[in-house]
């Protein structure tokens, strides 16, 4: 008999882990809260650093899960431990008995309206990184043709007052990628990135930065302090150009906020039922931060992806694969008699 494994979350981490576990011969039940699988990947247009279409990546992930039992629009209603296994009651009425559980609940995007000074939800030309991806995806153009567009890095990240002192890792590269895309669409527009540090740590990310510079994107080192509307419905943006120690102001037609990553609320609810511990940043804490990143302190419960902190997509996929290995080992050691 195949052992049941419950995967919580149908984003990149959940899909990749499910595909690998299926290949290892397990019976996978994957649950996803949304109507569609894919998580944030399904909402994105193109991926840094090379501009690969997100849909292409998602399609490849979906191709590999043909035998996985997926329940979309499904939540965990209750979950507890029975003997060595997990007993989960799903919102669709089905009960699952699983020998291992993978938490792949990912992240929520920081609610940008909380940073009121940026005017998200107040001025319609203040949007988020995710909104811009949606516009790209739907090939929706910005009208009238913008003369100037700005990107604000670290919105809801590196910000204790917003409840998140950590860096969200992906938004610098996202901002620079989006700045390049905007510049390609509107070559005559002035494009500004307001940053504190540029964290272009990955392979070819620095090339992306150089590409943005060469295309004329202006990088201003300083955090935007406030945004106001002008009489002609544009945005007045204030920051300090900290490299010259002078306040700087500029009028823009659109401002894109790089909203960071917060722990998934839905994942948190499941975590509470299982007494999973979180770190100060709200993300789940792994068994140890170096050698057992995929394990939790609860035997049989594993983690993959951004539920343990902000991660890039390739890192998430790596974690999904290594979680599959860890789960395989756990099942063999605990359930399969030699």
């Amino acid at each position: 008999m195949k052992n049941n494994i419950l995967v919580i979350g149908g984003g990149a981490a959940g899909l990749e882990a499910a595909a690998n576990l299926e290949r290892l011969g397990y019976n996978i039940i994957l649950i996803e809260r949304d109507k569609q699988l894919g998580g944030h990947l399904a909402k994105w247009d193109r991926l840094f650093p090379d501009g690969l279409p997100a849909q292409e990546v998602l399609d490849s992930l979906l191709d590999n899960i043909s035998n996985v039992k997926c329940f979309t629009e499904t939540d965990i209603q209750a979950i507890n431990i029975l003997d060595k296994s997990f007993n989960a009651i799903l919102s669709n009425g089905i009960t699952v008995l699983a020998d291992a559980v993978l938490m792949a609940s990912g992240f929520d995007i920081f609610p940008a309206a909380k940073k009121e000074e940026y005017g998200y939800g107040i001025y319609e030309n203040v949007i988020t990184n995710q909104d811009l991806e949606q516009m790209f995806k739907q090939q929706q153009s910005i009208s009238p043709i913008p003369r100037a567009i700005g990107f604000v890095h670290c919105v809801g990240s590196r910000d204790e007052k917003a409840g998140n002192p950590a860096c969200s890792k992906v938004c610098c590269a996202t901002a620079v990628k989006q700045a390049c895309e905007v510049k390609e669409l509107y070559p005559d527009a002035d494009v500004y990135c307001f940053y504190m540090d540029l964290r272009m740590f990955g392979r070819r990310y620095e090339d992306l930065y150089l590409k943005a510079q060469k295309s004329g994107v202006r990088f201003i080192r300083g955090r935007v302090s406030e945004v106001a509307q002008t009489a002609d419905n544009r945005l007045l943006v204030k920051a300090e150009d900290t490299l010259s120690s002078k306040p700087v102001r500029v009028n823009l037609d659109m401002l894109v906020l790089m909203a960071g990553m917060r722990p998934s609320e839905a994942g948190h609810k499941v975590g509470i039922q299982l007494n999973l511990t979180t770190e100060d940043d709200g993300f789940f804490s792994a068994k140890d931060g170096m050698l057992s990143l995929q394990k939790s302190k609860l035997p049989g419960l594993f983690y993959a992806g951004a539920c343990t902190g902000a991660k890039t997509l390739p890192d998430t996929l790596h974690e999904a694969r290594s979680a599959a290995m860890e789960i395989d080992r756990y099942i063999k050691e605990n359930f399969i008699k030699k």
Binding site: L210, K214, D241, V248, R249
Partner: protein, 108 residues
């Protein structure tokens, strides 16, 4: 004019709405590498003239991007064109040539 006993000093802030972007585009056309500066400060740190008079290519580039032409020329005025900064620029900018071009385009 009535003397009210106080004056109005010009804003020390940078207003990018009326900054001169056209001349900077002209410079960028002639010296595309100017766009590659990442404000590391190596050029300023190594500048021989800088020991005697504040001289900074990094600041000059920034000033030009901010439309502050006079400040840019002033902070390059001590440059003796020794070219030492060219050796240290990690972006491979021919900084000496860039300074000549800045003076050509913006100079009086």
């Amino acid at each position: 004019m009535i003397d009210f006993g106080f004056g109005i000093s010009p804003s020390s802030g940078i207003n990018l709405n009326n900054s001169d972007k056209d001349t900077f585009s002209k410079l960028a056309k002639m010296e595309p590498n100017v766009l590659k500066c990442m404000a590391c400060g190596s050029c300023t740190a190594t500048c021989t003239a800088g020991d005697f008079k504040t001289t900074s290519l990094r600041t000059a580039i920034l000033n030009l991007q901010n439309g502050l032409k006079d400040e840019a020329l002033e902070i390059l005025s001590g440059c003796m064109l020794c070219g030492k900064c060219t050796m240290v620029c990690p972006r491979g900018i021919n900084t000496r040539h860039l300074i000549l071009s800045i003076n050509k385009i913006y100079g009086k």
